[in-house]
Amino acid sequence: MANDILMELQTGKIIELMKQGKRIDGRALDEYRKLEIFHNISQNAEGSARVKLGETEVVAGVKMVPGDPFPETPAEGSISVGAEFLPLSSPTFESGPPGPEETELARVVDRGIRESKCLNFEDLCIKEKEKVWIAFIDMYTINFDGNLFDACSIAAMSALMQAKVPKLDKEYRIVKGEYSGKLELHRKPLLSTFSKIAGQIVVDTNFAEEKATEARFSVATTEDNYMAAFQKGLSGSFSGKEIDDCIELAFKKAKEIRKHL
C-alpha cells in the first residue's frame, strides 16, 4: 500500500517531467518496457500464455467448450473474453464481481479479436444448428504496474496462437487429453494504447504514469494494415490530429510486438 501512495505522490513530478518530454523512468515517449512472453503455462488450458511488460504481469488461457449456436448464426462458433483484476496483483484491487474497468478491458480485447476476423467463426462450427465451439479467453492480472490493455491483448493473442482444438466423441463430449488440431488464426490483431499526460502522448504507461493520465486511446491493428477496434477512455480528450498520430504509431508499435509473439 505504502508503495502505491508513494506512486500517487509522484504524479506532480511525472507531469513536470512530461512537460519537458521526459518520463519518470527515463524511457522515450514511444518506448515500451521490456516484453517477455511465456507459453503454455497451464497444461489444462487449450492454449495459454504469461506476459510480462516491465513489472506488469498478466496471464491468459483459452478453453474450448462445445456449446449451442446462436439461433441467428447456426453455423458459427463464437468467442467469450473475460478479464479479472486479481486482488493478489495490487493493493488497489478488491475481489468481487467484475467492475466497469474489467468489463471495458475485456470488451476492448474482445472487439480487436472478433472484428479483425482473427478467428473465422465458421471454422468453429461442429455441426450446423447443433454444436459449435465457444473459445473462452480469460485473462487475469498477476502484477499491476500499468498498461493492462496492451499486456492483456498480447497475452490473449499468444494464448490463441498456442490453442489446440480438443477431440470430440459422437455425443460432442470432449475426449480428455486428445486434440484434433491447432486453432486456426487468420490475423494477429494487437492493441496499442496511448495515454495523454500533460499534453504529451505516451505509450505503455506504468502505474504511476497511469495515475497522471488524462485520456486514453487504444487501437487494434492487424498485420495487413487494418484497424479493427478503437476505444477512447478517461475524462480527457484528444484532437483529430492526436488520434491520427496515435494510429500511425500504433501500426509501428504493434508490428514490433508481433515479432515477439
Binding site: 466497469p100 474497468e101 479493427a228 477512455g233 484528444f238 483529430g240
Partner: protein, 253 residues
C-alpha cells in the same frame, strides 16, 4: 445464393437518405419534473429518456472526491426496446457504455466546483435501431444543461461508419448489419472539436478513418444545433408562461 444488398444506389441509402444525412432527430428538454434536468429524444426509431440528479452528496462517503464531483452515468435498455426481450439485468455492454459516456461528459462539466458530490445521469432506451449510445449521450448532455450544471460546452454525439463500401453518417440497424459494416460512435465538444468519446468496431483503413472522422465532426455539429434549439425552446416557453402568469396577476389587481 442470397441476393446481395446494395447499401447505396445512386447516392441514396436503403432508407432513402443521402450518404451524409442524419435520421430525423427530435430533442425536447425539461420533460421530467422531478429531475433536476431532463431530456426526451427521438432519433430515427431510437427513443431515449435522460435525467440528471445533482450535484448531490456522494454516498457512501468513501467514494467522495474532495477535489471534484463524480459523474455516475447509467445507460440502460428497457426489456422491450430490442427485437428479442432483453434480460433486465445490466449486461457488459451497458456497463462499458456507461463508463465511457460518463467519462465523455466529465470533460464538459466544471467538476472541480462541486467537491464530494455526485452528478447522477440516468438514461433509458425505450426503442432502438442502431446508434443508441450516441442518442443517449446527446440526450444526457441536454439534460445536464437543463439542470443548470456549469459546462464548458455541450457534448454532441453521432454514429458514423461504413456499409456497402461507403462511408456514411448515422448508420441504421440494416446498415450496421452489412457484411463490411464498421461502426464508429463519436462525441466531441463542438466548440473545440475535442474528441471525448470514440469507439470503433469493424475493419477500417487509415484513409477510410480520415474520411469518417471528418463526416463525424460535421454530424456532431448538426446535432449540436438541435441541442441548442431544444434548450432555447424550453426557456422561451418558460418565459412565455411567466409572462402569462404575470398578466393574470395584473388582471387580478
Amino acid at each position: 445464393m442470397e441476393k446481395e444488398i446494395q447499401y447505396v444506389k445512386n447516392g441514396k441509402r436503403l432508407d432513402g437518405r443521402g450518404l451524409e444525412d442524419l435520421r430525423k432527430l427530435k430533442i425536447e428538454a425539461g420533460v421530467i419534473s422531478k429531475a433536476d434536468g431532463s431530456c426526451y429524444l427521438e432519433w430515427g426509431q431510437n427513443k431515449v429518456f435522460a435525467s440528471v440528479y445533482g450535484p448531490r452528496e456522494a454516498l457512501p462517503k468513501h467514494i467522495q472526491n474532495p477535489y471534484k464531483a463524480l459523474v455516475d452515468y447509467q445507460y440502460r435498455m428497457a426489456t422491450f426496446s430490442v427485437p428479442d426481450r432483453k434480460n433486465p439485468k445490466p449486461g457488459r455492454r451497458e456497463i462499458e457504455i456507461g463508463k465511457v459516456s460518463g467519462e465523455a461528459l466529465e470533460k464538459a462539466i466544471f467538476l472541480e466546483r462541486f467537491p464530494n458530490t455526485t452528478i447522477d445521469v440516468y438514461v433509458e432506451i425505450l426503442d432502438s435501431n442502431a446508434g443508441t449510445r450516441v442518442a443517449a449521450l446527446t440526450a444526457a448532455s441536454v439534460a445536464l444543461a437543463d439542470a443548470g450544471i456549469p459546462m464548458r460546452d455541450m457534448v454532441s454525439a453521432v454514429g458514423v461508419g461504413k456499409a456497402g463500401g461507403e462511408i456514411i453518417l448515422d448508420l441504421n440497424k440494416d446498415e450496421e448489419d452489412a457484411p463490411d459494416a464498421v461502426d464508429i460512435p463519436i462525441a466531441i465538444l463542438p466548440r473545440t472539436e475535442e474528441v471525448v468519446l470514440l469507439q470503433m468496431d469493424g475493419l477500417l483503413t487509415k484513409e477510410e478513418w480520415k474520411k469518417a472522422f471528418k463526416l463525424g465532426v460535421k454530424g456532431c455539429k448538426q446535432v449540436f444545433e438541435m441541442q441548442k434549439e431544444a434548450l432555447r425552446k424550453k426557456y422561451l416557453e418558460a418565459e412565455k408562461e411567466t409572462a402569462e402568469t404575470e398578466n393574470i396577476e395584473m388582471m387580478g389587481d
